[in-house]
């Protein structure tokens, strides 16, 4: 029976992690430079931290032992390694760090720079190789006009090379601006290390500074972001997709340092955006919404969950909450009663291509568009859910109930199935639906009609079978002692599965 609840231990050991091992710099000489060990030690010592958590993504985990040993030797503090992050390794896993009571985190590898809340933090991005000269050549090829307005964005792992890139270009391209990495500050949070300290764009007017996704750049006066083209240094992936969705009116070009080739990305933006529109229509059709909590680290995630719950309720839908790490098809398909999922995660992980999923997975912004009548699909797209919160740049108030009273009459037809949308037909006050009593049978027993209960009754499998009355009653027995890897009475020989 134990196997029912946990997967087979051998299978776990044989499972291959989907990471490319080639990215680590295992040679001892590189470690110091690649992982900025001396910088890290300085950071730890300057703040007198006692317990330090080092968070590694899967592909860098091979170096974790060496790095932690080096840091421990240097600083003589307690070092913990955090691996196998539940919600995408680009986010800072504060919950895991709090398990060991760490008082600061060092995050290694690629990062989405989503602001976290509590602990002092240092980013070590690592330095991926890049041919700066090739990159400059590509840039010149893609933008023959030296007067063109271009914003240069880049993957954090190439941030080390950007200064060189800037030096080579800024002379000939006066109108080109370079973004800098700069995370948001939050009250009660210590300085984040590894990013630009101080105000790099201090010479800019406040209103021309664009600050998004931990990037900051400053636009020329009288220009808006739409007037700029974007040049991205890095592989295509979630980061680029996120930028392209957010600034979907801009032309994008990218340079891939792995292959040292540049290309025009603009063609796919519109298609991708329209596909999200389909997701919104699916969300509008849904009656039961599952809120997937895909982060425990990004600041304000609790507020957005509350706001989502509220707007889903006001739109006459039901919501359930799921905390789920590493979302996959099989996990979500376990909940057949959910019509659509909304994923609360960092901006880069929010955009999930849900065509493989049994039910679509949408972003909080899409759910808002589907629920809030005041919000309209205009082509603007928000991946960062913090912008949706009150005070955020894209916040739209939910219509007051009394004002929407006459709008209630307008029925809506689903654009997917062509049927009437159920939410228009149902009275909006949820109380009347669930508390109505109906006669169950001739003997005048009354039963509460509940759609969720009737759905459950219709399922072929209704959960674990309690087999009430079938199992004989037994006296309480003394259980095992100890921890799961080695119970006291087990001894050493019984750990047969951990070869």
């Amino acid at each position: 029976m134990t196997e029912v609840f946990s997967s087979n231990c051998e299978a776990v050991l044989q499972r291959t992690v989907g990471a490319t091992a080639a990215e680590s710099g295992s040679q001892a000489g590189d470690l110091e430079e690649l992982y900025q060990i001396s910088d890290t030690c300085r950071f730890i010592q300057s703040k007198h931290f006692k317990k330090v958590a080092l968070q590694f993504p899967d592909e860098l985990l091979v170096d974790a032992v060496a790095v932690s040993a080096a840091i421990e030797k240097e600083t003589r503090v307690k070092v913990y390694i955090l691996g196998d992050t539940s919600y995408g390794s680009c986010c800072v896993d504060e919950v895991a760090a709090e398990h060991v009571g760490a008082d600061c985190i060092v995050h290694y590898g690629r990062s989405c720079l989503s602001p976290s809340r509590r602990l002092p933090l240092m980013y070590v991005f690592g330095k991926r190789p890049i041919d700066v000269q090739k990159c400059v050549d590509t840039f010149r090829e893609l933008y023959p006009d030296t007067e063109s307005h271009v914003v240069v964005l880049y993957d954090v792992t190439y941030s080390h090379a950007i200064d060189a890139f800037r030096k080579l270009l800024s002379a000939s391209y006066p109108k080109t601006v370079f973004s800098v990495l700069k995370a948001d500050h939050f009250d009660g949070q210590e300085q984040i290390h590894g990013l630009v300290a101080g105000d790099a764009n201090s010479d800019c007017m406040d209103d021309t500074v664009v600050h998004k996704f931990g990037r900051e750049f400053c636009l020329a006066e009288g220009k808006s972001v739409e007037d700029y083209s974007m040049f991205y240094v890095g592989r295509e992936g979630l980061t680029l997709a996120n930028f392209m969705m957010t600034w979907n009116r801009c032309a994008f070009c990218s340079f891939d340092p792995e292959t040292s080739t540049g290309r025009n990305e603009s063609i796919n933006i519109n298609k991708a955006l329209m596909k999200r529109y389909y997701a919104i229509e699916r969300a509008k059709d849904a009656n039961v919404v599952g809120i997937l909590v895909g982060t425990l680290g990004v600041a304000n995630y609790l507020s957005i969950i509350e706001q989502l719950k509220e707007s889903i309720r006001k739109a006459g839908k039901k919501s359930y909450m799921f905390a789920m790490g590493k979302i996959n098809v099989a996990k979500l398909a376990n909940f057949l009663e959910i019509d659509v999922y909304v994923l609360v995660a960092c901006p880069e992980n929010s955009l999930l291509d849900s065509s493989e999923f049994y039910r679509p997975v949408v972003t909080p912004f899409e759910m808002e568009v589907a629920c809030n009548k005041h919000r309209e699909w205009s082509g603007e797209y928000v991946t960062d859910f913090r912008d949706l919160l009150p005070g955020g740049s894209s916040h739209v108030d939910f219509p007051e109930p009394d004002e929407s009273a006459n709008e209630e009459d307008i029925t809506d037809v689903s654009l997917i199935t062509g049927a009437l949308r159920a939410s228009c037909l149902r009275p909006t006050d949820g109380s009347s639906g669930s508390s109505s009593l109906v006669i169950r049978n001739q003997t005048l027993t009354v039963a509460n009609t509940n759609t969720a209960a009737s759905f459950l009754a219709g399922r072929s499998w209704q959960g674990l079978e309690p087999k009430l009355g079938e199992t004989p009653v037994e006296k309480a027995l003394e259980g095992r002692r100890g921890i799961a890897i080695a119970y006291e009475e087990e001894g050493t020989d019984s750990r047969d599965c951990l070869i």
Partner: protein
């Protein structure tokens, strides 16, 4: 003046003064107590320069009700008026007041109560066979003041919306009947309108052009009417064409007419199992007409003219001898079956056609000398002015006087088409989803005006300004009252799932008479009604019942169209911010066109699915002009595709669930020919019990007993053209365990068939067989999450192993062209991958009919192309016919698609697939490996299955 409000220099430093408007408002209030105001005012304050008022405000000049707008310079183009005139949109011609009629409106309203005296009739027929013209004649006879129609349909030359007309018509004995007539469009693209009309009628009058004969749509309509179980009557129209245009001798004209009747009977016997379903002038269900010259007669009404003239003739008996091989022997004054001599004519020619020919030729030929004498003989008296009329009006006048009103038509409908009372049972049996044995069913079968209210609406008519919709339908039992609260049940309503229902209040009620409407306050069972106020919850059709007391009420079946919407256009507002307006417009056209589908595809495009080019043209007109008034971009039309297989899977395909505890094995193979259509037409239904279902497959498609009894599902839905069969053996597989995951596997199968692996288009004509299944013992390990995605994956891999192909819709085309144009028709067809199936002259006319098939995707612009090549002499109509496999392998990577070049036939499948994928924003090629497990791929390699597919 208070000192502390001003500084030592007299500058005001006190609190801010009220703005001007407020003062004005105060002034108004103060007007009443002038005295006090005067005392206060006194004109003594210092008025600052900016507070001085030199001119009265606009409000003072024009009064408070007038809105005043001040426009800055250059903010608006000069061409645009600052204050726009109120625009009234009007898209249909409506009479403002009730026109004069030959009968009393009160009488009409009274007739509504006696359901025995009502006839609900749909007039249908091929394009340009004179339906609307016939209705015009009827209107002209009953509405002396209304003249010719001149609305949009006439300038367009084709009707696109069905028009309900209600009027009182007398039969040949002078008894009045209430006729509810639905005049339907004849163009095949609009067959959906006919379907909506037929649903609420008890019978049809099929119009056939005497010269053209039975055409494409005539045949389809016969088939459809048989399916809908309606009484069928025929009106052979435009008989004048035989005489004046084709100039056939009377005997040939008779042969031509008989040929038409025979053809119709041939079709009736093909489509119906009912032997007694025959049309013949002798049975009284065929009439002849020529509305242009106001001619309409049946054998009976023609015989009656003889009886009226000569008296003392039993015209009923006489009529029975006026058709067929019956001759009149003038010597014996008897009718015989054999011709008495070689040049004697059949009785129909002698007594019907020859007089008709004579009248026509007299009027056309010799007006001045002999006509007055002939007319005198016939007892028709014309004034001098009338005699000076042109030929056509004169002919019309003469025939009108001779034949009188269209009593023959009325006789035919009254005798052949059941009244709403007597036809109710058959109607309900066919259209109601519930049983007849309930009280409600009884009331409907009795057409009981005092029973519980049941009303079936099948169409939505927009008001003439296109803002609101009125539902049009038929009351089947009870009486609908104006202002009454009702419950509207939508198409998705069932007794188990009552979500799709809404209580609303009926507004006004009308009886619709084409161009005007008669407002009534109650409509009893058996009648047609136009309902205001409950259009909001209705999408296409609806069932209207009482809000309480009719809990067991079920819905009437949604319409079943005889055509499919396969042409697809994607629309998008030019200005993205106008999307809500466009959505509103889409919602409205969706209501207005019965078979239209508007939806958002996975690619995020708004697509409109319609039956053909003309149809979509009309939809776009309505969308742009009537319902949304915005600029809309339209993408090039495309068609819907299907995905299918042509062979059996080359090996058993299996997939393991992510937890490795379940394994499902399937193969795919093509379905038997005709089975897909049977499922779609609901000849066979999955809801049947196992035995009945099994018998159907055993007898009709030769399935073995085991397979026939273990059909699990159709997919993607209950009428989807794919089958999932459990072909496992009880000795090998634990059936109980497999049964426990049946739901999940079926869901995975339906999900998979909804969006195929090639280009996300539905799968068609494929049978999936479950060959083996290993299912975990513990319920936890075989949850939906594990099984559903895996079932879908195995459906895909089995599909891909069975030589997948694309399918495209094919049109059936009927072209009429003169002999010298026939070769040009062939050329045009060949250029569009079409092929001719039949090419024959139309008997008794110089035209040829060419029947052909053409792929729908190559049919865009076909009509125009055809006309260009034949100088406008050829006329084509095309309608969806079947699905056909696109030549070529869609997965053949060696094919390079070059842009802007026509592809050779074997490359077409790949071209269509790649272009569809591109449009939908999918990756360029199908990545097949993701549907196969690693062990499966090993197996493939082992078995050396040659895959030219990318892995």
């Amino acid at each position: 003046m208070e000192a502390d409000l001003y500084d030592e220099f007299g500058n005001y430093i006190g609190p801010e003064l009220d703005s001007d408007e407020d003062e004005d408002a105060d002034d108004d209030d103060d007007d009443e107590d002038q005295v006090e105001g005067d005392e206060d005012g006194g004109g003594m304050e210092v008025v600052l320069h900016e507070d001085k008022k030199y001119y009265p405000t606009a409000e003072e000049v024009y009064g408070p009700e007038v809105e005043t707008i001040v426009q800055e310079e250059d903010t608006q183009p000069l061409t645009e008026p600052i204050i726009k005139p109120v625009k009234t949109k009007q898209f249909t011609l409506m009479e403002q007041e009730l026109p004069a009629t030959v009968y009393d409106m009160e009488f009409l309203a009274d007739l509504m109560d006696s359901s025995e005296l009502i006839r609900n009739v749909t007039l249908c027929g091929h394009l340009h066979h004179g339906k609307t013209c016939f209705v015009d004649c009827l209107i002209e006879q009953t509405h002396p003041e209304i003249r010719k129609r001149d609305d949009a349909d006439v300038s367009r030359g084709v009707g696109i919306k069905s028009t309900p007309v209600t009027m009182v018509l007398p039969d040949s004995k002078g008894k009045s009947y209430l006729f509810n007539i639905m005049d339907t469009p004849g163009h095949v693209n609009f067959s959906d309108e006919v379907t909506a009309g037929m649903r609420i009628s008890d019978g049809i009058v099929l119009f056939i052009d005497a010269a053209e004969g039975v055409m494409l749509n005539t045949e389809r309509l016969i088939k459809h009417a048989v399916q809908e179980r309606l009484a069928i009557t025929i009106c052979i129209n435009k008989v004048d064409r035989l005489i004046l245009e084709l100039k056939l001798p009377p005997t040939d004209a008779y042969y031509k007419l008989r040929h038409i009747v025979d053809e119709v009977n041939g079709m009736l016997s093909t489509y119906s199992t009912d032997e007694s379903l025959v049309v013949s002038p002798l049975l009284g269900n065929v009439c002849f007409a020529s509305p242009q010259y106001s001619i309409c007669f049946t054998l009976g009404s023609f015989a009656k003219i003889y009886a009226d003239t000569y008296g003392d003739i039993n015209y009923n008996e006489f009529a029975k001898r006026l058709w067929g091989d019956i001759y009149f022997n003038p010597k014996t004054r008897k009718f015989t079956k054999k011709a008495p001599n070689s040049n004697s004519q059949r009785s129909f020619v002698e007594f019907v056609l020859e007089p008709l020919y004579k009248i026509l030729s007299q009027v056309v030929g010799d007006v001045d000398t002999s006509l007055p004498r002939v007319l005198d003989e016939l007892g028709i008296h014309l004034t001098k002015e009338e005699l000076k009329l042109n030929i056509r009006p004169l002919l019309r006048l003469v025939c009108n006087r001779f034949f009188g009103e269209f009593t023959g038509f009325v006789d035919m409908c009254v005798q052949q088409i059941p009244s709403p009372h007597s036809g109710a049972r058959a109607k309900i049996e066919h259209s109601y989803t519930g049983g007849l044995d309930s009280d409600l069913g009884e009331a409907m079968a009795e057409c009981d005006p005092d029973g519980p209210l049941m009303c079936h609406t099948t169409k939505m008519y927009s008001t003439d300004d296109g803002v609101q919709f009125h539902a049009f339908g038929r009351v089947l039992s009870g009486t609908l009252q104006a202002g009454q609260p009702v419950k509207v049940l939508g198409e998705n309503y069932t007794l188990e799932d009552e979500e799709d229902s809404q209580v609303c209040t009926v507004g006004r009620l009308w009886i619709s008479v084409a161009r005007y409407q008669i407002e009534v306050n109650r409509v009893p069972a058996g009648n047609w009604v136009l309902i205001e106020g409950c259009d909001q919850p209705i999408v296409k059709t609806a069932t209207i019942t009482e809000p309480r007391g009719t809990e067991e009420a079920q819905i009437f079946r949604p319409l079943k169209f005889n055509t499919a919407s396969v042409i697809k256009i994607a629309v998008e507002p030019v200005n993205p911010s106008e999307l809500p307006k466009m959505l509103d417009g889409l919602r409205k056209v969706n209501k207005s066109y019965p078979s239209l589908t508007t939806k958002v595809e996975e690619s995020g495009e708004h697509v409109i699915l319609g039956t053909g080019e003309l149809y979509l043209d009309c939809v776009m007109h309505d969308l742009r002009k009537m319902y949304s008034e915005i600029d809309i971009k339209v993408a090039d039309p495309v068609v819907t595709f299907c995905e299918t297989v042509v062979e059996t899977s080359s090996l058993k395909c299996f997939a393991e669930t992510p937890n490795k505890k379940n394994k499902i094995t399937m193969i795919a193979e093509p379905l038997e020919k005709g089975l897909a259509e049977d499922i779609e037409n609901e000849v066979v239904q999955i809801t049947w019990n196992r035995k009945k279902l099994g018998e159907f497959f055993q007898t009709k498609y030769d399935w073995d007993l085991l397979a026939a009894r273990s059909i699990w599902a159709f997919g993607p839905d209950t009428t989807g053209p794919n089958i999932l069969v459990d072909d496992t053996l009880p000795s090998e597989v634990d059936k109980a365990l497999l049964g426990s995951v049946k739901d999940s596997i079926v869901q995975g199968f339906q999900w998979g068939t909804r969006e195929g692996p090639l280009c996300d288009e539905p799968i068609r004509n494929v049978k999936f067989k479950i060959l083996d299944a290993v299912i975990a013992q513990e319920p936890l390990h075989r949850g939906g999450g594990q099984v559903i995605p895996t079932a879908r994956r195995v459906v895909y891999s089995a599909f891909l192993m069975a030589t997948p192909r694309l399918m495209e819709p094919y049109y059936f085309v009927e072209v009429q062209a003169p002999a010298d144009c026939v070769s040009a028709v062939y050329t045009v067809l060949a250029r569009r991958r079409g092929h001719v199936t039949q090419d024959a002259p139309i008997p008794g006319s110089p035209l040829y009919t060419i029947k052909a098939f053409i792929p729908a995707i190559d049919s865009f612009g076909f009509e125009t192309d055809l006309r260009t090549h034949t100088q406008g002499q050829a006329f084509a109509l095309s309608v969806f016919h079947h699905w056909q496999i696109v030549p070529g392998d869609p997965l053949d990577k060696s094919i390079v698609i070059r842009p802007l070049e026509p592809q050779p036939a074997p490359h077409l499948a790949r071209e269509f697939m790649i272009k569809t994928r591109r449009r939908k924003g999918l990756s360029e090629d199908v990545s097949i490996s993701k549907f196969f497990d690693d062990p499966m791929l090993l197996e493939l390699a082992k078995q050396d299955v040659v895959l030219n597919y990318p892995m």
